[in-house]
Each structure stands twice: as structure tokens, then as C-alpha cells.
Symmetry: C2
Amino acid sequence: MVAAASGHQLATPPVWFMRQAGRSLPEYRALRAEHTMLASCFDAELITEITLQPVRRHKVDGAILFSDIVVPLKAIGVDLDIVAGRGPVIAEPVRSRAGLAQLRDLEIDDVQPVLDAVRAIRGELDPATALIGFAGAPFTLASYLIEGGPSRNYTHTKAMMYGEPELWHALLDRLAHISGRFLALQIEAGAQMVQLFDSWAGALNRRDYVEFVQPHSRTALSYASEVPRIHFGVGTGELLEEIGRAGATTVGIDFRVDMEDAVRRVGQDYAVQGNLDPAMLFAPWPAIERRVREIVEAGRGARGHIFNLGHGVMPETDPGVLTRVVELVHSLGATA
Amino acid sequence: MVAAASGHQLATPPVWFMRQAGRSLPEYRALRAEHTMLASCFDAELITEITLQPVRRHKVDGAILFSDIVVPLKAIGVDLDIVAGRGPVIAEPVRSRAGLAQLRDLEIDDVQPVLDAVRAIRGELDPATALIGFAGAPFTLASYLIEGGPSRNYTHTKAMMYGEPELWHALLDRLAHISGRFLALQIEAGAQMVQLFDSWAGALNRRDYVEFVQPHSRTALSYASEVPRIHFGVGTGELLEEIGRAGATTVGIDFRVDMEDAVRRVGQDYAVQGNLDPAMLFAPWPAIERRVREIVEAGRGARGHIFNLGHGVMPETDPGVLTRVVELVHSLGATA
């Protein structure tokens, strides 16, 4: 996994799934029944157990740290909650210098349980399985803070971006350092690579992404420069050329993009990750198998390829199908 | 407008806005306060008045028929409602042959008020202003019917598409004839061009779009072959090459795609429409003006260009800004 993310083409692509540690697993739902999402993200034992569940079950090649994009914001004292069925809700949206001033640096003590979990997970993981650190990118964090929660149209976010560019850049720079530091601390504690999620970057066109977002993602990723860095966003087909240039070693590909096109657009400077449509997991097995083989084949043209979905696992997914996909990918050697 | 949509490059691009007849206008909100969305869509006087409101106010070059994607479904007796803040809700989702069998042909009597409105609008419109007919594309109609309402992940829709391809194609063919007939009736009544909305086609990758959707959009558009045909979907950057081939004369461009890229991808066989980000209308005027000029300039490279947003007008939009955009576009002659 680490080799693939660094840009090496392997005979058999390594595989993991975004949101593999989550609601598709009955053992996860059982654990979470007694703990809120936020409480779980600050409890070392729960983080450890939840992170390891899909590794045990599916035999994936990577464990993604169980966390949430807003964890470092909560850790520095932002008043927020994660509401089931809705997402993060911020008590006081940040739309001014005063709001920005509240966002202090992230310190090691703020995320101690997370770092304890990273160490515990590394202790339990087979050495061949990579522990992938996790953080949200500055744009996505900013969109939650500015809108006050999940958004459809990002009107407040874009209004600040276009209308108050100085405040915008100051806010994103702040968030970049918070997010970057969160990654750096995870690496110090034992994460062997990281994924930076810019979930909502797909709401932007390329010009705006390059001007208003990319420099800050680059700042965040600079904190992780000694390890391989996957960078992913939903609906980012128009941005693929730029996602790598934000400082990644591996570009996560949204499920809408044909993997052959993606490999061409990303070029030979970066590995790729992806990109089975998570909705495809509800299809009959022969349809899934055909698509998995096509993606693996297309991925062979890239500098390196990590097999994954092209968006997170949906809660209703049959986990047995995920396990079967892992087995299939692992069976596909270079001569297949 | 008709010339541009047919593929002629004009000195000054014609302009209209998706959802121009809608909640951004106080005169619309006043009318709608007393009538539900569905009732409004079947009342000739209301359709006429609402369709004309943005033409009077903004001096746009096109009037888009006020309607909703589910109108022809309601017209043939599907039990559905349009719920404020949510969208269309279908009482009994269609997921079987039995459900499909309920979808009968659309007859002229089913949509008489709509056709009366088309005639009335044509009577009132300046001859230089085009009346654009309106229908939803088979995939988007199918997704509402199968999911039972708006969806995030289209799991039921994709499950049928991959798992029951015969039922899928039969359903989409059925919807294509309903949608196509709705367009044909509007044209007979006086619509000079049409826009087919495939709102949710952006949820598909290109392979699936070509195999499961495009043939049916082509059937629908074949009913309108004697007039210019705009075809638009949200988030369809990956599909632009295929949207035109579905039988359009003009490809609607989502706001995320850089207009220069769009013109290149669409090629010289089709005109383009778009694509200012509707969220940009909340920006300061100089930022808006710069982007409008860039889009108009890029559009000059196309076979024809209709200026529009790259998604619908948002309800919170200041209508004064829309009027100003129309004035700006109209001021931009070819030598500007």
C-alpha cells in the first residue's frame, strides 16, 4: 500500500475502502449504539477497535484511522456536534475576523486519545497492513464552519471567497495549519501514510480551486511530506490535474470518472486511487466483477494504483460483497 | 436564441437563466403564496404569468415554460406530490413490471392547461424572444419513480440498472415516449425550441450513461427534431461529449467545467449553453463581471453560445443582479 501510494506499480493492486470503518458493519453498529459519533472519535479504545474491524473482516491492505473531518476543530474548542443523518453542525458559523480569531493552533494534548489509538492500532496491525492517517482539507473544513453545517450550494462559502478574499485566505491558512498539524501528529504516532479529504472541492471550478483552495491544501499536505499522501474529493473530475499538484503523491478518483481517462489526466507524476461506484455494490456479482477487472486493468497504466471505491461505502452495503471485492482484487495478478 | 441554439455564432450571445421563473422573484413568490407547485403547473393563467415574469423584468432573450419535471407523470395519473423543501415524492415507487404497466401514454388532454399556456405566452411574447419548451429526461424521471423521491446515492435506481437491465430499458423507453410526447405537444402549441433536463445524469459515469441512458434521451429528443434542442444535466463534466450525441443541438454546461474546456470537449458539432456559477451571483459585481466576460469570450470558440448559468438560479438570489448580468451580456458585442 505504501509503495503503491508512493508511485510504484505493483503486480496486484493493494485495496481498501473509504468509510470501510463504518455503518456497513454490524460490529460497528453494535459498538456505536452506545456512543455518539463525536465521543467515539475521542475514545482511544473505540477508535482502535473500529479502525481494526474492517481489516479483520475484509483483509484489506490498509486501515484508515476512524475519525471525522471536524475532529481537530472540536479538539481546539469549536462548539459543534455531529448530528445523525445530517452531519456536523457548528453552533456559531465563522464569517468574520472575530470568528477566525477563535481558531487556535492544534496542540498534542488536544488529540491525545487519537494518538494513543494510532499507537495501539500500529501495535495490533500486521506489518503488511498500512495505517492511513486522516484529515479534512481546508476548503471542506471552511465550508462547514462558514455554512454552519452541510450545504448544498455553498453560497456563504463562495460569497466570502469572492467577496472577502483576504479573510478567506486567512481562514483557509489557519485551517491548513490545524489540519496539517493533525496529520503530522498522526505520523509521529505511527501512521505510515495519510489521506487528506477535500470532500466538497467538487463544488468548485478549476480556476477558483487553483486560486482559492489549492495553496492551502498544499500547506496542509506539507506537514506530511515524509510519507505518501492520498488526496481525494467527491465530484472532482474537473480538478484531477490540480489535486496532485496540491502536494499529493496519489490522486483519489471520483466514481464518475472513467479510470482510463483519469489515468491520462493525472499523468505519470502521481499514483491513482479508486474508483468503483459504491452504488455498484448493490449490483449482481458478475456486473461488479466485470467493472472491478476494468478498473484494475486501467490502473495498470498509472504510476501506481490503490484499488478503492470512488466515494465512501454506503451504510446499506452488504459487507460480504466488500470482502468478495477484496478477494477478487487480490486474485488479479499482473498477468491476469 | 433559436439561431444560437441551432449552431450559429452570434455577435452578442442570447441569454436566459435556468429557474429564472421562480423564487428569486418577489412577484413569483406573491403568486405562489396562494397555489401549490403542482396546482400552478396545471393552471394556464399561472403558467403564463410566471413564465412571462422574468422576461418582463430581466429582458432575457428566452422564456422557459414554467413547469416541473414530474408534470407529465402527474398528468398520466402517477400519484405524486411536490413537497416544499424536498421535491417530488412518489406515493408508490416503481420497481417492478407491475409499476411500469401503470405508466400509460401521454395524451393531449392530459396537459391541456400547459398547451393553452404555451399558446398564450407566444401571443404575448415579443417575436424576438424565444419560448423554450421543457421536459425532464428519462433517467431523471426514472430516478424519481424508482427512489420514490429525491435521492443522494441512487442506490435503488442503479440496482435496477445493473441488476434488471431488461426492466430498466423498458422503463426508460416508456418514460422517453412520455417525455418526448410532452415536448412534441409543446412544439405543436408554439414552443420554438426545447430544453431536456437530465438533472441527475451527473450521478453516472460515461460507460453507464452511454449504455443505460443515452439511447432513451435520444428517443425523447427525436420527438423535437424539427426545433433546436438544448440538453442539460448537473455535474455532467464527464459526459459532455455524449450529451450532444444524445440528439441535442446545444449542450448545457455545468458551472464546474471551465468554458474553454467545455468548448473543446463539445467540439464543433454542437452549440453550448452556460455556465456562470449561480453562487457567483452573491459575489461583488466586479468579480461577476470579470467571469461573465471570460465565459462570453470562451463561448466565441463554440459553434454557437447561449449565455446562462451553469445550474438554476438560487431562491436567495438578488434579481437585480440577474438583470445586470443580462445588460452586461447584451453589451458585449463581438469586437468587445
